[in-house]
Structure formats: structure tokens, C-alpha cells
């Protein structure tokens, strides 16, 4: 569950010849963008970064009735050349204090972005999954052990999280 493993999983497949995928990937990403913009989903959003269609910027609003309520996190999503056959790489660009998110790199540990990836998942479902990960961490394989051990002490966790968020939200 280290950072390297996430990258190494995506890389070998990137060079695989899979037909004229470039345009097909762009087409699919365009459709996803359309669907995202048409949907009434307010808590997650995403948009391509500048001219590169394969790098998106996303935002997730912390789910209600969780310590992350009213907090807003930015993410970067990078799509491989053979998307959707392999999962995109997602990273928190806003530092996030969470058991399954690396505090310094922003890498996250989520099964559907790894071994449980399916070509059916799209940006919206990924972001919603990450959002639900915020409220339901998997404390068995933490990337941030501090957060994992603190999770059960709700009040303490909330206090530390708020401080951390206020300190880092602008970076």
C-alpha cells in the first residue's frame, strides 16, 4: 500500500498497444465531463486542467455529519493512455488528515482505484467513492497511522482535523 505500488500498477500498461486509443480515451473523457456538468451533483466537481484533457482538477466537499463536513479538498486526477482499462491516478492536492491518505504526497489507498478497478467507473463514481472514504476509512491498512489511531476518539479527531485543515487549506 505504498505510493510506489500505486504508480507501478498503472505504468506497465500505459505503453500497451490498444488500438487508436488516444481519441477513444478523449472521447470517453469528453462524455464524462458532459455527464458531470449536466448532473446536479454539488458535492463533487471536476474539470480538465488547462489544455491537457488527461489531467483533471477535482474538488470534493466533505460529507455531512462527518468530521470532514464543510471542508473542501482539491484533487488531481491523471488518466492513463489506456483509460478506462486501467484506473486513473488520484491525488489530494489539498493536504488531508485521514487514515487512508498520505499526508505529505496526497496519495490515497482505495481498492476501486487498484485491484477492484472496473472500466465502468468514471470520474463521478471515483470522486463519490473518495468522498465516502472520508467518512468510512479503512483503518486496517492505514497510510496515516496517526489518523487511524485517533479515529475512534471522535472529539479529539475533529479538533485536530479542524486545526490541520485551517493550516493547510490554502496550499
Amino acid at each position: 500500500m505504498s505510493n510506489q505500488s500505486i504508480q507501478s500498477e498503472n505504468k506497465p500498461n500505459n505503453d500497451e498497444p490498444v488500438g487508436n486509443k488516444g481519441s477513444a480515451v478523449a472521447k470517453r473523457l469528453q462524455k464524462e465531463l458532459m455527464a458531470l456538468m449536466m448532473s446536479s451533483e454539488k458535492s463533487v466537481s471536476a474539470f480538465p486542467e488547462d489544455s491537457n484533457f488527461f489531467r483533471w482538477k477535482a474538488t470534493i466537499v466533505g460529507p455531512k455529519e462527518t468530521p470532514y463536513e464543510n471542508q473542501k479538498y482539491r484533487l488531481s486526477i491523471e488518466f492513463p493512455n489506456n483509460y478506462p482499462y486501467t484506473a486513473p491516478t488520484c491525488k489530494f492536492t489539498t493536504p488531508c488528515f485521514h487514515p487512508n491518505i498520505d499526508i505529505s504526497t496526497g496519495m490515497l489507498c482505495l481498492d476501486i482505484l487498484k485491484e477492484k478497478w472496473s472500466a465502468l467507473y468514471d470520474v463521478r463514481t471515483i470522486l463519490l467513492s473518495i468522498q465516502s472514504l472520508l467518512s468510512e476509512p479503512n483503518n486496517d491498512s492505514p497510510l496515516n497511522s496517526n489518523a487511524a489511531s485517533l479515529w475512534d476518539k471522535k472529539a479529539e479527531y475533529k479538533k485536530y482535523l479542524d486545526q490541520f485543515y485551517e493550516k493547510n487549506k490554502d496550499t
Partner: protein
């Protein structure tokens, strides 16, 4: 009269209502203009002849829009779960999920050790997908198909042919059957059967055997007739 003309020409709503009246109550409408002069009746008749085209165009454009919407909705049912486009060279998995064959093939090749349906994660394999053949199959050629192996063939079982020989299904099929026999049961010394409209004749099978049977049955029939005659005369 001239006013009625202008309304029909200028006001599309009025036009529409009058035309609907025409459809439902043609006699009432034709009676109205008849209260004025004869020429108006002619004119009104020309109006009727003129009206149907706008009415047709109106009724046809509206359902056209609905059709388009419906088509869009229908089309969205046939979107590949991977490329999110209308499925080309469509195949369907045993779990019922639709994909383009190139898309699904690509997905299966990226995970050769764990072949799961992207939608429901059921175990799938290339051999167990069913290709869908629409009417315009040739048009749906996808350039990517050259790089992926050909779609699996559909499986086809021949229909059962043995239904022809069931016989006596209905009275119409039965034909006429008569047999003669003499002797003490269960021993029949000689007998003859007499068939009209034999089923086997229609099937056209067992030709020579059938002719032989017919010949024999004729011989026995004559023997039986002669025997009866002898019985009566004696």
C-alpha cells in the same frame, strides 16, 4: 367568407382547430359554409383540400420531436459500458451487460487472470459472450475490430424436424383407414387394409416400400371381396 380564408391562412392555431374539427365532425363543418353563397362552398371545399398538408406537417413534426427524444432515450440503452458510446459490434455477456466487442476484448486482455464483468463483476469469458446482430450489420464495421480478434460466433441449434411424423394430430390429418380380416383372434388368416389419403403419401418418403404396400393392400382387398362374394353365394 373571405375572413374565414384569412383565418385559415394566417392563424395557425385556428387552422389547427378547424382541421381537427374537420377530422371529427366533417358534416358540421361543411354545413356551416353552406349557409352563405354557393361559391363559398366551393372555396370551403378548396380550403379542405388545402388544409390537410399543414395539418399533416404539424402532426408529423410534433411526433417527430417525440420520436427523436424517444430515440435518444432508446439509444442510451444501447450504450457500451466501457466507451460510453453506442455499442458497435455489440456483444452481451451472460450476465446481460452490453459492450462493444473491441472494448470488452480490451478489458479482458488487461486482466487475463481475473476476467470479470465490468458492471456486475460476474465471471465472464470470451467464449461465453453472445454477439448481437442487427439488421445493418455490415455498416457497423469498426476499424478497431481489425486489431482485436473477431467476435465469437453465435451458437445456433437446428430446429427439431421430427414433428412431421406425429400423424393423427387432428381429424383433417387422419385420412380414411379401413381394414378387412378373417380368422380367430389372435390369429388372422389374411387381412387387408384400405387407406385413403395416407399420411406417408404427403411426406413423400419411403417411395418404393409405399408402392409395394399399396399393391399388396389392393391384392388383399380383391381377395377379400372375392371371399365375401363366395360366402354370400355359397
Amino acid at each position: 367568407m373571405s375572413s374565414s380564408q384569412t383565418t385559415t391562412v394566417n392563424d395557425p392555431h385556428l387552422d389547427n382547430t378547424t382541421t381537427t374539427n374537420n377530422d371529427t365532425l366533417p358534416n358540421n363543418n361543411s354545413q356551416e359554409p353552406s349557409t352563405s353563397t354557393d361559391s363559398s362552398q366551393y372555396r370551403s371545399s378548396t380550403q379542405y383540400s388545402f388544409k390537410p398538408p399543414p395539418e399533416n406537417s404539424k402532426t408529423s413534426t410534433k411526433p417527430d420531436l417525440d420520436d427523436n427524444e424517444e430515440e435518444k432515450r432508446d439509444d442510451s440503452m444501447y450504450v457500451c459500458n466501457i466507451c460510453l458510446d453506442i455499442a458497435k459490434e455489440s456483444v452481451i455477456t451472460m450476465c446481460g451487460h452490453l459492450f462493444c466487442w473491441p472494448c470488452l476484448n480490451c478489458w479482458l486482455e488487461t486482466k487475463p487472470q481475473r476476467q470479470l464483468c465490468p458492471v456486475c463483476k460476474a465471471a465472464i469469458s470470451k467464449d461465453k459472450v453472445v454477439p448481437l446482430y442487427g439488421r445493418n450489420n455490415e455498416k457497423q464495421q469498426d476499424p478497431r475490430s481489425k486489431k482485436s480478434p473477431p467476435r465469437p460466433q453465435a451458437q445456433r441449434t437446428e430446429p427439431d424436424n421430427s414433428q412431421n411424423y406425429q400423424g393423427f394430430q387432428s381429424f383433417g390429418d387422419a385420412g380414411f383407414h379401413l381394414s378387412f380380416g378373417i380368422g380367430a383372434f389372435p390369429f388372422v388368416f389374411f387381412g387387408s387394409s384400405f387407406n385413403f389419403n395416407d399420411i406417408r403419401q404427403r411426406n413423400g418418403q419411403n417411395g418404393s416400400q409405399f408402392e409395394e404396400d399399396q399393391f399388396l393392400s389392393k391384392v388383399f382387398l380383391w381377395v377379400a371381396i372375392i371371399f365375401f362374394c363366395w360366402l354370400i353365394l355359397a
